[in-house]
């Protein structure tokens, strides 16, 4: 009996035979779980929660590693649990390997599969004596007679391979047709792949899809290697203005090719790639000048959707394959935002929905009565661990959860490793908890009290003493750090208010808040509300959906109708320039308080 496993919040569905171990299904699906014991149930790393459906009874190892209480809550070890029917599983971040967290996918319910690239099997008659039909014309005639397809033109590389391929495979071939162009031809048994890329300023996520069945067959993530040339887009623009875009383009392409090689052994099977990213990443990938993006009026070289041959960018693919780049909205709102709207279906709702993708720049969209407004706010690097004294990215050992119980500080770290610093979600928790415990006031000022000390320059609060962490010196949050978090949360909140104000509604009218992005998946909405970053709405209204931009890229990969919807979205959205918005400064100043608005 086949069973289906739905992995949340990844949004991945996988089929398996009844009785299969959960960690096997995860592994086969490309989900990288932590495991130190090789599946013997002794490390306890592969902990996950069964949300729906029946599985085998807990083993002795599970009782030992998890305890009765957790098991009663539904927690299990993937390596010990057999699947007995269709189930839904929640993977806690701590159970996922780092790579996996980079490329975390959002949910994707029943995305249509109507790819732009059509795949056809063709069986042709070999040429006889005194038959002068050329190979290409023979193939075009076959596509016409067998499938009614009028293929007007072949890619050059198809012609270069066609004569040998046809003769070696007994005049049978698999053909990839894109619009009126034959872009690829392969031996009959080689199925086509597709790749969706989400190119972020710090991370690049890739999703590999079997383009015959529409099945997701892999995902992976890498750090954007441009990090070496500057942490944020402004630094990348500065570098490009001094040194040209070529070097930044080169390292980005090399990084993407590394990711592709990690994802599949034969990139020549990739017949289509879709790309989303912010406007600067988009420009750097294409080798477009970025200087004009860095100064008013922040003009992009191009906003609309683009199709370029992968070979023109040196990106590994079938030799004739295209790369489709989704359209952007404006200089500061890139195609990743369009993809996020598409994936979360914010464009297709009669509700009032707020969509928030948090990062160095935070993009926010508001859907209200069928209209869409978007804005971008400079939330700065603090939420990604930048400009924070002990700030780190979301790497192993990063503190991502903080709770204060009296004078005790309880920290959860990524991968459960010894603490090495504090990442964005941890910082928000810290500020929220310190405020709740009256250790900081509504201005964010650290009071005197247990855990607070003066380090000579400023006050700071000790989270993990050096003796207990992985770096040997105290991990603290300083007065400056708190101020950086206040600036970031005020920027986000000001953006939200501008959109609400523009739609002439209050936050009470919001039906749903969708928080997307790798960072957004891990923040605690309660903490974000506590510090005033988000409006104070019922907890159920908040949904955290993972990397919606990547899912949007995968959707347009799998569906030409979704592609045209994405293009419509990019023209439908009204861009709100925050600095231009009436009352911007006043709102921002108020939003600096905790909780502020």
């Amino acid at each position: 009996m086949p069973c289906c496993v739905a992995f949340e919040p990844l949004g991945i569905h996988a089929d398996c035979v009844r009785g299969t171990l959960l960690h096997e299904v995860a592994r086969n699906t490309g989900i990288a779980l932590l495991s130190a014991c090789g599946g013997s149930g002794t490390c306890g790393n592969c902990r996950m929660k069964i949300v729906e459906g029946t599985v085998s009874s807990p083993t002795a190892q599970e009782y030992e590693k998890l305890g009765i209480q957790e098991i009663e809550q539904g927690y299990r070890l993937a390596c010990q649990t057999q699947i007995l029917e269709n189930i839904r599983v929640y993977l806690p971040p701590a159970s996922l390997a780092i790579d996996q967290r980079l490329s975390l996918a959002g949910p994707d319910r029943a995305a249509p599969f109507d790819p732009l690239v059509e795949e056809k099997q063709l069986i042709m008659q070999p040429p006889l004596a005194y038959n002068y039909q050329a190979d290409w014309e023979r193939m075009a005639a076959g596509l016409q007679s067998s499938y009614g397809i009028s293929a007007a033109n072949p890619d050059l590389t198809v012609l270069q391979r066609l004569p040998v391929l046809l003769r070696e495979n007994g005049w049978r071939a698999r053909v990839s047709i894109r619009k009126t162009e034959v872009i690829d031809v392969r031996a009959p048994h080689q199925s086509p792949l597709g790749l969706a890329l989400d190119i972020g300023t710090s991370k690049i996520a890739g999703y590999l899809v079997d383009m015959e069945s529409g099945t997701s067959i892999g995902m992976g993530g890498i750090i954007n290697p441009q990090i070496a040339y500057g942490e944020d887009v402004i630094q990348r623009i500065s570098y490009a203005m001094e040194q040209g875009v070529q070097q930044l383009q080169k390292v980005l392409v090399a990084g993407i090719n590394n990711l592709i090689e990690k994802l599949c052994s034969n990139p020549q099977r990739i017949v289509e790639t879709t790309v989303v990213g912010n406007t600067v990443m988009h420009h750097l990938l294409l080798g477009l000048p970025v200087k004009q993006l860095g100064m008013a009026p922040y003009t992009a070289a191009v906003r609309g959707a683009l199709e370029v041959k992968a070979r023109d960018l040196n990106i590994c693919s079938a030799p004739g394959a295209y790369i489709y780049l989704l359209p952007a909205i404006a200089g500061f709102i890139g195609s990743d935002h369009v993809a996020m709207i598409l994936a979360t279906r914010i464009h297709d709702t009669s509700k009032t929905i707020l969509g928030i993708d948090i990062g160095t720049n935070t993009e926010i969209v508001l859907a209200h009565r069928g209209a869409l407004w978007s804005t971008s706010c400079a939330s700065g690097p603090a939420l990604e661990g930048g400009n924070i004294r002990c700030g780190v990215r979301s790497v192993a050992g990063a503190i991502e959860r903080i709770r204060l119980h009296g004078s005790e500080v309880i920290c959860e770290t990524v991968n459960g490793a010894r603490a090495i610093g504090i990442c964005g979600s941890g910082s928000i928790d810290a500020v929220a908890e310190l405020f709740r415990a009256d250790i900081i006031n509504s201005r964010g000022q650290l009071m005197s009290g247990p855990g607070v000390r003066h380090n000579g320059k400023e006050k700071e609060f000790i989270l993990v003493p050096g003796a207990e962490n992985g770096i040997g010196e105290d991990i603290t949050i300083t007065q400056k750090d708190i101020q950086a978090i206040q600036l970031a949360k005020a920027a986000v909140r000001t953006g939200i208010e501008a959109l609400l104000n523009n739609a002439n509604i209050t936050s009470n009218e919001i039906d749903e808040v969708i928080i997307t992005g790798g960072f957004g998946t891990y923040i605690d909405p309660a903490s974000a509300i506590a510090i005033g970053m988000f409006p104070d709405l019922q907890r159920e209204k908040f949904k955290q959906v993972g990397n919606a931009a990547g899912i949007g890229a995968r959707r347009v990969l799998m569906s030409k109708s979704q592609r045209s919807i994405a293009e419509q979205i990019s023209s439908r959205v009204t861009y709100i320039e925050l600095m231009q918005h009436p009352g911007f400064s006043k709102t921002f100043a108020r939003a600096m308080y905790i909780p502020g608005l």
Copy 2:
């Protein structure tokens, strides 16, 4: 007062100011005349014939170099002759430099100028604050509002240059649009160029055109560098089968790029290139396999017209420019034949016309009552100087004209240099004259008599004794050479007969015979009739028009309507396979005699 000079048989028209010296006009037009004296009238190399119109009176130097008789016939020295009104001039082959002869153009009367690539000047409004239109969208809107052009997509390289170009040129630009694609963008003063290429097995000719005015601004030729890998297409195919096509493609592209650099100082201005050539050259340029072209049923990889980005072939051009390759007819009849038909307008006649392009393979077309039939015959290398003991290509010192006056042999050589061998037109003359003088019989056998000797292996006839020539040993034509010429002429004649037979007519019904190609321009039709290569028709019916294939390539460069006519021609022509034609062997055997048929 402006005067127009028509240069025959080049088919080039040039304008000049009244009083200009003829050799200046030729030089400015890109015609390479021989000149050893630098224009002082002392070398006599730039001899040409005034066919129509008034020029200045002959100078003393001209009387000295040409003599009264030649001057009375209209001959003049270009460096001494001032143009006084519209004139027509005939350039004898001997006055043209080698380079020029390689690229000899045929006549081109009033070719239409409606290029596929449209050129537009665009003046745009710069972006103001809070205007989020991207550069490309601004340009597209400008093309729409100023010219009603819907430019759907930009080439990637256009986007890469657009932001800087617009800002450096005050938001003005020159735009090249091809169908719905913007392929190039340049500073407002940079006018576009176009290039037509005729890629022959031994020679490559290039024609440069100003794509704004349609004026021809240069032409040039080079030896096909693939010569180093085999003299004919069969040898090239063999090499490619052993070593792959890459090396052959590489040297061909390098040769073409050399030619382009000779023709223009800034190849980045070339916005479109058209290419004609036989099917093997076409395949090797594109890097297509040729093995299947070398064995029955001689299947081409592709027959139809193709458009590829010049950058995909590494050919120097504007970064976004295309190369258009004219369609072929069948494996052995390439796009050069289609271009020849187009240029000579054989497709557009109610007359009965025979078109012949002589080479190692000779292509022949017959137009009769609006139908077109073509065949290809393996005339072999003899007509191009190959497999002839003293055979040479049409280089300086090649004997190209032979007359026997009694026992005296009078030879004309290319460039008037000391004889070094005999080229195709010389060989035909030799056989014709030897037959006329009864030195060979109708079987082609050398009789005994003055000038004939036995060299130990075979009989031969001495054309130029070693003492009088440039190689120090006797230049002769041997019994074997004569047989090679007989095989070649029999092949050509058999092809002609097959076409006539197919149309069910006799040679008497032919209204016109058009002989094209570099070689065809120099043969003496009377000699070709005398040996039976051509049917015995009145001399006036024969027209020698130079490189019609190259002119056809130039036509489709200059005109999109001519391009679609070329595509129609390629489907209209019925290919006649000679070996399949009834009575082939019998006709061939009879055609071996002199004159034979």
